[in-house]
Amino acid sequence: MQIPYQTAAAALVLALVSMPVWAEEPGKMAETVGNSLTSAPAEWLGAQPHFVMIGTINGTAFNVQFTDIAAAMGIASFAAKREYLVIEGGFAYIDFEVALEADIGGVERTVEIEMENENFAKQSLPADFALQEAEFPAGLLSNLETQWEWEVGGASFNEEVLGWTGVMRLQSDQGAPDDKGLMGDGMVSGYINAVRGADALVISFTAPVTEYEIED
C-alpha cells in the first residue's frame, strides 16, 4: 500500500508538533505556554504572585512566564524560604530563596533563585541591592545564585550558577513574626536585572513564604 505523500507529511508534522521539546534537545529549557510578554519586563510585575524569568544562563535560554501563579497550569509548587543566622542577641536575615516546581514542555522542572546579604532586615524596602560574588555581603549588596534541574529519560540536567552582577530590587518582604521575631510566612517580591559574561537575565517575582530555617 502506498501512502500519499501529503498524508505522510501531515503525519510527520503532527508527530513533530506533539513531540515534547526534550525529545529534540533534552537539556534545553522549554518555554512556558501562552507567554504574553514579548520581551523581558523592565520593572517588577506587581503584587500578584508570579514568577517570570527571561534571558540566558550559561547560554541556555529561559522564557518562563507565570504571570499569575493562581491561574497557571502545571505548577506543583511555588514558594519562598527565609534563612536566619544566629548572631549575638538575636538573628540576622541572611538569605532567601524562591523555588518553582512546574511542568514546562512536558517535563517536571525545578527552577530556584537565591539571594544573600549580611542582614536583609537592616534595609528599608524597596531597596536596590547591587549583585556581586561575595557571600553574605553587608549593605546594599547581594549575590544571586540560579539553579535548575530536570530529568529526561533517566538523564539529569542541572546547574548551579553564581557570579552574576547587576541589580536586585527587593520590593517587599513581609510576614508575621513569631515569638523569636522570625517570619516563616507572608510574601517576598522583587525584580532582578543581571548579567554574567554573555548572559543577561531578568527575573520578576512575588512569592509566598512558607518556611524559615535557622543556620546556627
Binding site: 533534552p26 529519560g153 538523564a155 542541572n158
Partner: protein, 353 residues
C-alpha cells in the same frame, strides 16, 4: 557550578542519536558501566540522603532499608520498597548500624541529627521492628571541645571484631570527626568520647572497614582519607584518592561503603559530581585502586540521575544473590526522591570485579 548529564545513560537511551548530534560524540568519553535498579523505595517529596541496610538474621526476606529524609527523619522500608515505619525525628542526615544486643534487640541503628548536633539511636528487633533506644539522643560534641566546631553532618558506626567493642563516628562541617565508644548496661546506652580526627574541610561520608580496622572518610571537595580505626592509634590521615582522579573526576565525595564477599573486598564511594558509584579494590595494596565507575540507568525503573548517599551489603538477599547496592535518587516523578536497589552481581559483572 555543576553541570551533570548522565552521558552513559543517554548514549544507550532512546534519544542517543539526537543527543549525540547536539553534544558531539567526544562528550561520550569515559562513561563507566551502567546497570539498572531492580526495586525502589516509596518516593517522598522530602530530601532523602543516606541509606543503611539491615540484613535479617533469620531470613533475608525480612531485611530492611533504613533511609534518612533531611526534612523529616527516618523511614524503614522492606525489600519491596514499601514503608514499614516512619520516625519524625527531625533533620536526620546520615544513618548506619551494627549488630548489638545491649539494648534488647539484634542491632543498633544510629544517625546524625542536624538541628541540635546530636546522635540518635534506635534498637532493631529480630523481627525487623525499630524502636528508639534509651537514652535516644546524645550530644555529638564532646565536653570542652565546642570551640571552632559547627554543624554535625556525617555519621557511621564501627565495630572491632576482635574485642566486640562498638563505636560511633560523627563528623562536622568544620572538619572534625569524633570517635565515641558505645556500651550498654541494663538496656541503657552510654557513650564515652575517645578521640578526635581531622580533615581540612567539610567531610560527610564515612565507613568503617571493621575487618581491616580502618576508617574511610570522604572530604566532600577534596577526596577520600583513611585513618586507623583503633582509638589508641595515630590520628594521621592516609590519602586514598583525590578529586580529579579516574574514580573521582569532580566533587562532591558523598557516602562510602564496604562490600566484602569473603574473597574480594571493595570500597564504594558516591561520586556525586557524576552521580555514579566509584568502586575501589581493597586487595591488600596500601592504596586502594580504582576499579571503575558504575551509573544506574533507566530500565524497568528510572535511573539514578542525581545521587547522594549509598550503602552496600554482601549478604545474599532474595533477588540479590551477591548482595545489594542502594543509592539515593534525587529525581523522580512528582519532584520526589527515593532509594534505588541494585544487584551487586550486576555491578560485579559490568565492571569485571
Amino acid at each position: 557550578m555543576k553541570l551533570r548529564i548522565d552521558l552513559a545513560r543517554l548514549r544507550t537511551g532512546l534519544f542517543a542519536t539526537a543527543v549525540s548530534a547536539f553534544l558531539g560524540e567526544a562528550a561520550f568519553a569515559q562513561t563507566g558501566a551502567v546497570v539498572t535498579a531492580l526495586a525502589e523505595t516509596e518516593a517522598t517529596t522530602g530530601d532523602t540522603d543516606d541509606p543503611a541496610i539491615w540484613v535479617a538474621p533469620a531470613s533475608g526476606a525480612g531485611s530492611r532499608i533504613i533511609g534518612t529524609d533531611k526534612t523529616f527523619g527516618l523511614r524503614v522500608y522492606d525489600l519491596n520498597g514499601e514503608t514499614l515505619q516512619e520516625f519524625a525525628s527531625g533533620k536526620i542526615n546520615n544513618v548506619d548500624l551494627r549488630a548489638f544486643a545491649g539494648t534488647g534487640g539484634v542491632a543498633l541503628v544510629g544517625a546524625s541529627k542536624r538541628e541540635d548536633d546530636t546522635m540518635v539511636f534506635f534498637t532493631m528487633s529480630e523481627a525487623g521492628v525499630m524502636t528508639p533506644a534509651s537514652p535516644h539522643a546524645f550530644a555529638a560534641i564532646p565536653p570542652g571541645q565546642a570551640a571552632g566546631i559547627d554543624d554535625i553532618y556525617g555519621f557511621a558506626m564501627q565495630s572491632d571484631p576482635a574485642t566486640g567493642r562498638l563505636f560511633a563516628l560523627a563528623n562536622f562541617k568544620t572538619g572534625q570527626i569524633f570517635q565515641w565508644e558505645i556500651t550498654a548496661q541494663n538496656g541503657q546506652l552510654s557513650l564515652t568520647f575517645l578521640r578526635r580526627l581531622d580533615v581540612g574541610s567539610q567531610p560527610e561520608g564515612m565507613v568503617s572497614d571493621d575487618q581491616a580496622g580502618m576508617i574511610y572518610v570522604g572530604e566532600e571537595d577534596v577526596g577520600v582519607w583513611r585513618f586507623a580505626g583503633d582509638p589508641a592509634a595515630s590520628a594521621a590521615a592516609f590519602e586514598v584518592d583525590l578529586v580529579g582522579s579516574e574514580c573521582l573526576p569532580v566533587d562532591d565525595v558523598e557516602e562510602l561503603a564496604i562490600h566484602d564477599d569473603g574473597t574480594k573486598r571493595h570500597l564504594v564511594v558516591s561520586a556525586q559530581g557524576i552521580d555514579k558509584a566509584a568502586i575501589y579494590r581493597l586487595d591488600g595494596a596500601e592504596k586502594p585502586v580504582c576499579a571503575g565507575l558504575v551509573g544506574i540507568g533507566a530500565g524497568a525503573l528510572d535511573g539514578v540521575s542525581e545521587t547522594d548517599g549509598l550503602e552496600v551489603t554482601s549478604q545474599p538477599l532474595p533477588g540479590y544473590p551477591e548482595g545489594m547496592l542502594v543509592m539515593m535518587d534525587d529525581q523522580n516523578e512528582g519532584y520526589s526522591t527515593n532509594f534505588k536497589m541494585i544487584s551487586w552481581a550486576e555491578v560485579r559483572l559490568e565492571l569485571g570485579l
